[in-house]
């Protein structure tokens, strides 16, 4: 179970001597998340929707141990984010901002082999897992240097990379952002299959059709607050996303 309780995040500005060294996005504190709570259970696909700047990517980065929350707790299978970040990292597969985060000069196989070892597999297991995943995602026959992949192939490779250590939790931040409708539908089918195999999936998107058709629950986030958490059927997601503080 992924449990997010009362998470708030305020990005501080650089102050004092630090201003000489660095620039932050703003010179005043920026509140990105306010008291956000939600859970994702095994076998569940939870869609996270909200306008740009709602705080979706901030929430993903906090759960992925890349950002420190200002307040609140995150636990994954009972492990706390602050006290056991390594345990959380072992349990989470991550896709950030579509299909970024693969090495264009390497083949899909070599990408998966590399990320497998970084995730803790030994070299032989990482190679075996890379072959399995290329088969599973229909890339085995077309594997080549990734800069020659289509957008759809890149998304599948990014999903395969997230699965390389067979984690029970998937955080997918807009994996379908650069896909056409057919590619998007294909990706949603893949995500459904992964959840049916027992994984918990938190999935951010701007496409409301994906949420209605592919998610068990939807969480609407605007201005850093949860406005709705429930079944997508019947919910007026457009109206919810237009809510402001």
């Amino acid at each position: 179970m992924l449990r997010i309780e009362g998470i708030s995040k305020t990005y501080p500005p650089a102050s004092g001597a630090l201003r000489l060294l660095m620039r932050t996005a703003s010179d005043v504190p920026v509140v990105a998340l306010r008291d956000v709570s939600l859970t994702v259970a095994p076998g569940e696909v939870v869609g996270l929707v909200g306008p740009n700047g709602a705080g979706k990517s901030t929430l993903f980065r906090i759960v992925a141990t890349l950002l420190e929350p200002t307040a609140g707790t995150v636990t994954v299978d009972g492990f706390d984010l602050v006290s056991h970040p390594e345990e959380i990292r072992r349990r989470i597969g991550l896709v950030l901002e579509g299909a970024r985060g693969v090495y264009g000069r390497l083949s899909g196989f070599n990408n998966l082999e590399f990320f497998g070892v970084m995730a803790g597999l030994d070299h032989a297991s990482a190679r075996r897992r890379a072959r399995e995943l290329l088969e599973m995602f229909g890339l085995a026959d077309r594997d080549r240097r990734v800069f020659g992949y289509s957008s759809g192939m890149r998304v599948r490779l990014a999903l395969a990379r997230a699965l390389v250590a067979d984690p029970p939790f998937l955080l997918l931040d807009e994996p379908t952002r650069s896909l056409d409708p057919a590619g998007s539908a294909e990706t949603m089918t893949l995500i459904r299959r992964l959840a049916d195999a027992g994984r918990a999936v938190l999935f951010a998107t701007h496409r409301l059709d994906e949420v209605r058709d592919g998610c068990d629950r939807v969480v609407v986030l605007t201005s850093g607050r949860v406005r709705f958490d429930g079944a997508p059927a019947g919910a007026d997601l457009v109206a919810l996303m237009e809510q402001t503080p």
Partner: protein, 268 residues
């Protein structure tokens, strides 16, 4: 075992990426050979300077020792910051930091390929110099120079960690790397003996670990001295290395924590 495996995976990845640019490899190999000839003729111009009296063979073998070390030192110094920037550019920095990989394994991996290439370049440079300069070098003394060589390159790698900590925060503008390399060439004795510098610059030279490394290596390779005679320099280098590694790791940890609070980890 895991630490070696992950560092080896980064090395393999970097090797595959860099070898996919074949012409780059050609220029990396030919560059050092051309440098040898340039300095060989500068050596002829310099002739037998009194400042070089305690070294066998005059200026050319003297500067070759400096060039070999500088080649590896430059790589060691920039490997960490180059590793961060490359991961940022490919969008993989956050993914790697969100994996259970320890930072120390990542650092070791980021250094492995650049140091291998620099080692090959330095080897080519040295072999070409031996061919050109004949018997100036005491080749049997090479094993005695290895500890000073390793500690000197290690000190640059440790300074590279300090630079990397700043780059995590500042993104661009490494405050140490260019300064340290310029000081190494100008003050620490890479290209000419420090004895020809004004007294205050000679005193400043002692603040740089490379000064002790150059002295120890030249003493055994060109001065006919024994390994035992370099123990003082080795001790100073070891202290520099320990202090710089500790400072570097601490600063990198602090920089990453700051980036995790301000949300600037993956910004370019």
């Amino acid at each position: 075992m895991t630490s070696f495996r992950q560092a080896a995976a980064v090395f393999r990845r970097d090797a595959r990426i860099q070898l996919s640019y074949p012409f780059q490899m050609v220029s990396q190999v030919t560059g050092p050979m051309l440098m040898v000839f340039s300095f060989f003729f500068i050596g002829r111009l310099v002739g037998d300077s009194p400042a070089l009296a305690r070294y066998e063979g005059g200026y050319f073998p003297f500067v070759v020792v400096g060039l070999v070390v500088v080649r590896l030192a430059d790589s060691a110094l920039s490997a960490f910051t180059a590793g961060i920037r490359a991961e940022q550019a490919s969008g993989t920095l956050e993914l790697i930091l969100a994996s259970p990989t320890r930072l120390s394994r990542l650092f070791a991996g980021w250094m492995a390929w650049p140091l291998t290439v620099a080692g090959v370049q330095a080897g080519i440079l040295f072999v070409a110099s031996v061919v050109v300069a004949g018997g100036a070098f005491d080749l049997a003394a090479i094993p005695a120079a290895v500890p000073a060589f390793v500690l000197t390159v290690g000190s640059f790698a440790a300074i590279g960690l300090v630079s990397g900590a700043f780059v995590v925060v500042t993104k661009r503008g490494d405050p140490f790397g260019p300064l340290v390399m310029a000081a190494t060439n100008l003050v620490a004795g890479a290209l000419f003996p420090v004895e020809i510098l004004p007294g205050w610059l000679q005193a400043l030279a002692r603040a740089f670990p490379a000064f002790y490394g150059f002295n120890a290596m030249r003493a055994v390779l060109l001065g006919g001295e024994s390994f035992l005679s370099t123990l003082d320099e080795l001790a100073v280098l070891a202290v520099f290395d320990l202090a710089l590694v500790a400072a570097g790791l601490w600063l990198v940890g602090r920089a990453l924590t700051l980036a995790r609070v301000t949300g600037t980890l993956a910004t370019g």
